[in-house]
């Protein structure tokens, strides 16, 4: 247990102070689900879902403890100012333990929370809890095999997801990133629909292809950082110890704030296999995250995975896993390689725009209910990429909000699909009709969910979209493509309204079909999933500042500020 007590320089620059902060809350959050999984292993089969639900519930409640330190984020005295020079001046719940130590390297178990990952962690535990409730009727599923294995994998997935979001050591991040892949693969591949093997292997291959490039980047970044601190020891003051760094590092905050490393990484003269280091590494990392986002053209795994995955897995996939792409951009790509991001900006904006329009057009052509929602996810996540690509405060804030908003509305939409699928055992949009008459409560929830996804003002989807668009417009001085791109992206809201309304018309409105007339109304369990999501859809639309912007803007603005400092040098 090395640095319990650390020295660092606060923002005020008036000297070194000692700060002690170490807590195991994040570690508990990561490994509690794994512990639950272990418990299921030894428990009788009937107890599996009970243990899983308890674990998810406790994890969610514990994750709520992460919020208070961020509550007074606007008030400087309330949050302890730990990392003055680092962008995460509000890093909380740190835990840092040396893990794999070598002579020239040190891989650490390093977790912490700032405005960027805190909302995502809470979202993860929340969506997982709801997905667990959605798995409660496991015994009635068509593929009702081995509930123990299902819930063990389910909890392992949660461990991986929380781990990815809280890791501040790149190596640790990578491990959790890969760890998450396996449970997902099996959850789709074993408990999925008719083409589950195809979908699972497609998901696995796409993600793995991205991970390989990320691994190359991981190693390259370590060695280049070692070079960097050796070349410019005068700039290599560590934010953590306040002393000069002597070795390369995997510490994400160090990589994105250490001046020596930033100088080396973003310098036009630094080459990697004959290509500019910053742009190449940026792209290596980007591909891995773009697959997860997913962005055109590496998106085709998503519709297949969703169509085959069981409902709760779809909820997690859409609600949490897709956010890892956006999170990766914001945590790794941009802070570490701002020069790379700038170089690629037009390309990334184009990808975002194509995803938005292409996803919407594809959604319009679908006859499978779930595939339609999957394509709408691609379209919505395109806004995240577009917002990030302009590298401005507004753009980043919009992208972040869009991620959380989509993290609320898309699990809801997927669950809405799941509810009818359980009754009808098919998802043909054109065979449905008049479901609102049959199931009025469910119909009301569906209206809220799909209108949130449509981006109706007053619901969560609107704020993210409009913020992204505003960010792109604002960037018109730096990028000449900004205005036309923003106008085209704004026009896509008409397409979105088109496919969502057409869907509602075909599924929920119209005459009651005799084949669906006997459908029971949404049960109490189903409503207990839909109602909280619906309430959040509304609350995030009405109180965006109080529910999200207050927590995240500090961190995001600092990332943008640091990035612009670096860009100003090159």
């Amino acid at each position: 247990m090395r640095p319990r007590s650390v020295r660092h320089q606060p923002a005020s620059n008036d000297g070194w102070v000692d700060v002690v902060q170490e807590t195991s809350l994040l570690t508990i959050l990561i490994f509690l689900p794994a512990l639950g999984a272990l418990g299921i292993l030894f428990a009788p089969r009937e107890m599996a879902r009970v243990i899983a639900l308890l674990t998810c519930g406790v994890t969610f409640v514990l994750s709520l403890w992460l919020i208070p330190p961020f509550l007074g984020a606007g008030d400087p005295s309330a949050a302890m100012d730990i990392f003055g020079s680092a962008y995460g001046d509000k890093l909380h719940f740190l835990q840092r333990i040396p893990w794999i130590q070598g002579e020239r390297f040190s891989i650490e178990y390093f977790v912490g929370l700032d405005g960027l990952n805190m909302p995502l962690v809470v979202l993860t535990t929340f969506v997982t809890l709801l997905a667990c409730v959605a798995s409660w009727n496991f015994h009635t599923w068509k593929i009702n095999k081995s509930s123990k294995a299902y819930f063990i994998l389910f909890l392992m997935l949660e461990t991986g997801m929380v781990g990815v979001f809280v890791s501040l050591d790149f190596f640790l991040f990578y491990i959790f990133w890969e760890m998450m892949l396996l449970p997902m693969y099996f959850l789709i591949g074993v408990w999925g629909g008719p083409r589950k093997e195809y979908a699972a292997i497609k998901f696995f291959l796409f993600t793995l292809a991205g991970s390989v490039l990320m691994l190359v980047a991981l190693v390259a970044m370590f060695f280049y950082s070692a070079d960097a601190v050796a070349e410019r020891p005068d700039l290599a003051l560590s934010y953590w110890t306040g002393e000069v760094l002597t070795t390369g590092t995997f510490d994400i905050i160090e990589l994105s704030t250490n001046q020596a490393i930033q100088t080396k990484f973003n310098d036009g003269g630094t080459m990697f296999l004959g290509l500019r280091f910053a742009t190449t590494m940026f792209m290596f990392l980007f591909v891995g995250f773009a697959v997860k986002l997913p962005s055109f053209p590496v998106h085709t795994w998503l519709p297949d995975a969703h169509v085959e995955a069981p409902t709760p897995v779809s909820m997690i996939l859409a609600g949490v896993l897709l956010k890892m792409g956006g999170y990766g951009f914001l945590r790794l790509c941009y802070p570490i390689f701002p020069a790379g991001g700038y170089w690629w900006s037009a390309f990334l904006a184009a990808l975002g725009l194509v995803s938005i329009i292409y996803g919407a057009l594809c959604a319009m052509a679908q006859t499978d209910f779930k595939r339609l929602v999957a394509y709408s996810s691609i379209s919505h996540m395109g806004y995240v990429l577009l917002g990030i690509s302009v590298m401005s405060q507004t753009g980043f804030q919009g992208a972040m909000f869009q991620m959380i908003a989509h993290g609320i509305s898309s699990p809801m939409c997927f669950f809405l699909v799941g509810v009818v699928y359980e009754r009808a055992h098919h998802r043909e949009i054109n065979r449905f009709g008049g479901l609102w008459l049959t199931m009025p409560k469910y119909g009301t929830m569906a209206t809220i969910g799909f209108f949130a996804s449509l981006g109706l003002p007053g619901l969560c989807g609107f704020i993210g979209e409009i913020w992204v668009l505003l960010g792109v417009f604002e960037a018109r001085d730096r990028f000449e493509w900004a205005v036309p791109v923003a106008i085209m992206a704004a026009a896509a809201v008409i397409l979105t309204a088109g496919y969502v309304l057409w869907l509602i018309q075909r599924v929920y409105l119209g005459k009651e079909k005799p084949e669906h007339a006997g459908f029971p109304e949404a049960t109490g369990r189903e409503m207990s999933i839909l109602v909280p999501l619906a309430v959040l859809c509304i609350l995030f639309g009405i109180l965006p500042k109080h529910l999200l912007f207050d927590y995240v803007n500090g961190t995001l603005n600092q990332i943008v500020g640091t990035m612009q400092d670096v860009l100003a040098m090159y």
């Binding site: 507004t394 007053g458 704004a490 026009a491 005459k511």
Partner: protein
């Protein structure tokens, strides 16, 4: 003005209907059931009370043109400033609030009986009232909002309520389709509207009304903001108005919106929501008057729509559709008024129109209720004796709509036509011709429904409506009779020796609408005495002429219309089929979009996944090749080992040579 009082009453105006809606939504299905209307009536009544108090506050203050009160911070905009949830209260706001809340109250009361079959609450009774409450809440938000973001929020929220209420009978496929169409067409307009708001933000760095108007006026005066930029902003905002207020070419949703229940047509699609565009342009006068181009376009679109919609109304048989086209046409008048810098006339017409058009729709609803949901004029007629109250109130409404002298519509419409003549004789004549058509189609509908031989569809028990429905009709008909006098002076004027345009309402609105009257580009054509007052006599004569023609064609010699239709079959078909605009939209916009959707999906399936297949085929192919080497015979392995070793040695020897 007292800020605290303004805040209190504003909150009352907004929260009354919202709480009513929530109570209706939550407790309606379980507790309140058939009594659900009470909570919403109470909520809207509170809103009316709040609106009156606000009106008193504003009218009691002299010179203090507007007040803005901030409720809370909403969304961050850059570092320290936030978009606030704030209300702006001034003369325009209070007039709009009075109209909106008052008509809403009457409509909610009316719905108590309308939404019942034989005294029993119809299916969805609670839902209906919850939606109505939600609509009133959204509409007052739109009107009260103190910045463009709240305006946009209210704008979209009324659109949502309109969607939900048009599709209220969602088991009817036509209603479901109409709801979707309404929302989508509005989205097209809102796309422009949203861009306009963006452009405002990028131009002046704020969305707050006061700041925006000040900075734009100052910026244009000092040359900092080019006129082309202001024109762009104005035209983009106007896009939104074209969608919401059903102007050409985005009017197509409004006739279909008649699929909703009649009270909804009266409230949303005649009296309040569709006038949001007029309100918005009056509110943004400071922006619009800076651009001569934008104003000309507003006036032209308004005039064209007024005429265009009136021609379609001439031949329809569905009573509510006739009224819908007439609404489009009357909204066209309002935009014409705005475009010729007569915003006070436009708002005046908005105000009178709300009374008589709500009256007409509610009257049509009363007929429909009595006829067992049949509204086709070919299937019934001669209801004068069956429904005396409906007949009398409808007569007043029709007279007001036709612009019959001394009724509400006469004063406001005449003022708009007058202002149009001042600007351009062409626009003025369009206004006059439309007025003639209006009188004709209104009374065509009226005579067919109420005069002639009594004809009632089979199996329908025709009856006069109950008192919950008649009372609002009577109150509204009083409005249709007298509301116009708020806008005229009654002593010593030139018209009939008593009346003089520009009354109390205009003076009350003046401080808010100053941009229009002080605009730099207003060039008034010197008006002769005839132009000032002769016009009033001319339009009176045209209104009476229209009524007489309708009488001649539909009461005196009922065969005449058929003969005329046969004489001009093509013209009749084109009008009856609404110029085939819906068909054209479908063929040129909807279908191509669906096709490109299918194309994208095909690309996804075949091109992208094809590439993926090829990429993954490479390792599979390699594996297939290499598998051949593992044939399992010892000689083979031995041979390949020898060959392999030989190759390695060769390579090593080559590499190690100096």
């Amino acid at each position: 003005m007292d800020d605290a009082a303004i805040k209190t009453w504003s909150i009352l105006v907004i929260m009354g209907p919202l709480i009513g809606a929530i109570l209706a939504g939550v407790f309606g299905p379980t507790v309140l059931k058939g009594k659900t209307h009470f909570v919403v009536i109470a909520g809207v009544a509170l809103s009316v009370f709040g609106a009156i108090m606000l009106f008193l506050q504003v009218s009691g203050s002299h010179g203090d043109a507007s007040t803005t009160v901030v409720l809370y911070e909403w969304i961050p905009s850059g570092a320290p400033s936030w978009f606030n949830v704030e209300f702006r209260v001034d003369a325009l706001t209070t007039i709009m609030l009075l109209v909106v809340t008052f008509i809403s109250l009457l409509v909610v009361i009316y719905s108590r009986d309308y939404m019942r079959d034989h005294g029993e609450p119809a299916k969805g009774y609670e839902r209906f009232f919850a939606y109505l409450g939600l609509f009133v809440f959204s509409m007052v938000t739109l009107v009260l909002g103190g910045n463009f973001l709240l305006l946009y929020l209210g704008w979209e929220a009324v659109g949502l309520c309109s969607y939900l209420l048009i599709g209220f009978y969602y088991d009817r496929p036509s209603a479901a389709a109409a709801a979707k169409k309404a929302f989508l067409v509005n989205r097209i307009g809102d796309f422009g509207f949203g861009l306009g708001i963006f452009l405002i933000y990028l131009t002046v760095g704020s969305l707050d009304y006061n700041t925006v108007f000040e900075r734009i006026s100052a910026g244009v005066a000092s040359g900092e903001i080019e006129t082309s930029r202001v024109t762009a902003i104005a035209l983009l905002l106007f896009c939104g108005a074209v969608g919401k207020s059903a102007q050409f070419p985005l009017y197509v949703w409004l006739p279909d919106a008649m699929e909703g229940p009649s009270p909804v047509s009266a409230l949303i699609h005649a009296a309040t929501m569709v006038t949001a565009g007029v309100y918005m342009i009056s509110r943004c006068g400071a922006i619009f008057v800076e651009s001569q181009t934008a104003m000309t376009i507003v006036a032209s679109v308004g005039a064209f729509t007024a005429l265009f919609a009136a021609t379609m109304a001439l031949v329809q048989h569905d009573m509510k559709r006739i009224l819908a086209y007439s609404t489009i046409s009357q909204l066209g008048y309002m935009f014409l008024g705005l475009g010729v810098f007569a915003a006070n006339a436009a708002v005046f017409h908005l105000y009178t129109h709300a009374f008589f058009k709500a009256l007409l729709f509610l009257g049509a609803g009363s007929v429909m209720h009595s006829m067992g949901n049949i509204i086709d004029l070919r299937k019934f007629g001669g209801l004068k004796r069956v429904m005396p109250w409906t007949y009398a109130t409808m007569l007043i409404g029709c007279l007001a709509l036709s612009g019959f002298p001394l009724f509400a519509g006469f004063w406001s419409k005449d003022e708009i036509i007058h202002a149009a003549f001042n600007k351009s004789h062409f626009l003025g004549w369009i206004g006059l011709i439309t007025a003639l058509m209006t009188a004709f189609y209104t009374f065509r509908m009226f005579f067919r429904a109420f005069h002639g031989v009594t004809k009632i569809p089979d199996g329908v028990h025709a009856h006069e409506s109950g008192k919950w429905m008649i009372a609002p009709l009577v109150i509204l008909s009083l409005g249709a009779l007298f509301a116009g006098y708020a806008g005229v002076h009654i002593s010593g004027g030139a018209f009939l020796g008593i009346f003089e345009p520009h009354g109390a309402l205009h003076h009350f609105l003046d401080p808010v609408l100053t941009p229009f009257s002080h605009a730099p580009h207003v060039e008034m054509v010197a008006a002769t005495h005839w132009q000032l007052y002769g016009l009033m006599y001319t339009s009176s004569a045209l209104a009476i002429l229209g009524i007489v023609i309708a009488y001649g064609m539909y009461v005196d010699s009922p065969m005449l219309p058929k003969v005329i239709a046969q004489m001009f079959p093509n013209a009749h078909d084109v009008l009856y089929n609404k110029y085939y605009v819906d068909e054209a939209c479908n063929a040129w916009i909807v279908e191509p979009l669906r096709k490109s959707g299918r194309l994208c999906f095909a690309i996804d399936k075949y091109v992208i996944d094809g590439i993926v297949w090829i990429v993954t085929a490479i390792p599979r192919g390699l594996a297939l090749l290499l598998r051949q080497l593992q044939q399992g015979s010892l000689q083979g392995y031995g041979a390949s080992m020898v060959i392999g070793t030989a190759i390695i040695m060769l390579v090593v020897s080559f590499l190690s040579e100096p």
